[in-house]
């Protein structure tokens, strides 16, 4: 059974933030979920490892990003990876 990108990202957030995955809404920010900045960095790292992508550097305010924003960034990074793979083929 394949999970959507959103499901996978939410699961990673839930594991690190010790919150129930059902609590996470697309508009929730990590701050809303009481996730400290250090945990936020680890979440980004886990997402990178999980999808084998590099998330773009942004203003270093992850805690104000919404969960949906993270999913969006992952989708963009995955699309970039596909383009690259396509280019190499």
């Amino acid at each position: 059974m394949s999970e959507s990108v959103q499901e996978q990202v939410f699961k990673i957030i839930a594991e690190h933030g010790k919150v129930d995955v059902g609590q996470i809404k697309p508009e929730s920010t990590l701050k809303d979920l009481n996730i400290a900045s250090l945990e936020a960095i680890e979440i980004i790292f886990d997402i990178e490892e999980h999808f084998d992508i590099t998330m773009p550097d942004r203003d270093p305010d992850f805690d104000t990003d919404s969960a949906q924003g993270l999913v969006h960034a992952v989708n963009e990074a995955l699309a970039g990876k596909q383009d690259e793979a396509g280019g190499n083929a």
Binding site: L38, I41, P60, D61
Partner: protein, 406 residues
Amino acid sequence: MRRIVITGMGAISACGTGAAPLWEAMREGRSAIAPLVPPDPDAVMRMKVAAQLKGFDPTAHFDGTRLGLLDRTAQMTLVAAREAVAQAGIDFTSGNLARRTATVIGTGVGGEIARDEQCRKIYRDNSPRVHPLSIVRMMPNAPASHVSIEFGTTGPAFGVVSACASSNHAIIQAAAMLRSGQADAALVGGTESCFSLAGLRAWEAMRVVADDTCRPFCKQRRGLVLGEGAGMFVLEILEHARARGAAILAELVGVGMSADAGDIVAPSADGAAAAIRNALEDAELAPERICYINAHGTATPANDPTESKAIRMVFGEHADRLAVSSTKGVHGHALGAAGALELVAAIGALREDVIPPTANFLDPDPACDLDYVPNTAREQRVDAVLSNSFAFGGLNAVLALRRPAL
């Protein structure tokens, strides 16, 4: 109480070899931050800029046998120590001074480059052998050991570790020994060089590093910029310095420390304020006497407002009359060497009656509401100053200095 004075200083940093080029760059707000030269030319780096020491040729300072023992941190320390000792004009062979001299040097991680070189051999090259001097190059006490060997100082000697507060903690530890009578003189300072690929990757992963430049306290700040270097100082008991007719650069009048005992990285205004208060109390200085604070001012989103708040908590209304600047926009964040490089700024301000500016400053941030002396130095009488260092791990160390009494 035995009074402590500083009679020699030396430094090496992205601004060049010597305390003078560093101080001149600080005073002019001239940034040494430049595009990062990665340790591995093929590595794709997220980190874009750094304050690296360039053109340093260790063979100009050390013979081959000696050089084989020295990580870059120890090399830089020795170069800075030679400058400090030469300025102080102190002769450690005179009387029993050698055994009455302490050597205390801070570093955040120790011989990172030496460690990284051997890791590459093991994990990349699958070599079963590492260099037999790996341990003595890597150990964080190596800089202190090499300084004691070079100058023959046989008093208490060791390294001090507290991340970005290492230099200040080392200076404070030596000051305690001078006050208590365990030593009459001390060689103190800090050193750091973390520009290994592994070190840079670790900083990149933390996402606290700016991709443009270091802009402390201003609205557009995007994080810290890594620097490297070493700063070394000769401390002496006032009577000792006077007896040998030494020129006194500044008096170290007070020290303050605290631990946040909270978050491992997020700074606490209460913790910082406690260290500042302790330094003022120890110096028996009323807050109104302080003219200038060389701030920790890393330019991370978290540090700068927290430090500003801490200063306001301690100084009240006087906070609006204080000059506060961070010189990290000039020399970068030299981590374990930060406090030592920044002590050069504090001493320079006292000696020349000028406040070194906060470089790279664009627009004010409402969360940082002090006078940061943006971009241009300010001439004013400077009688007493503080130098703040706050470390990951919530460890705070503050120095209070005064111009020497005539």
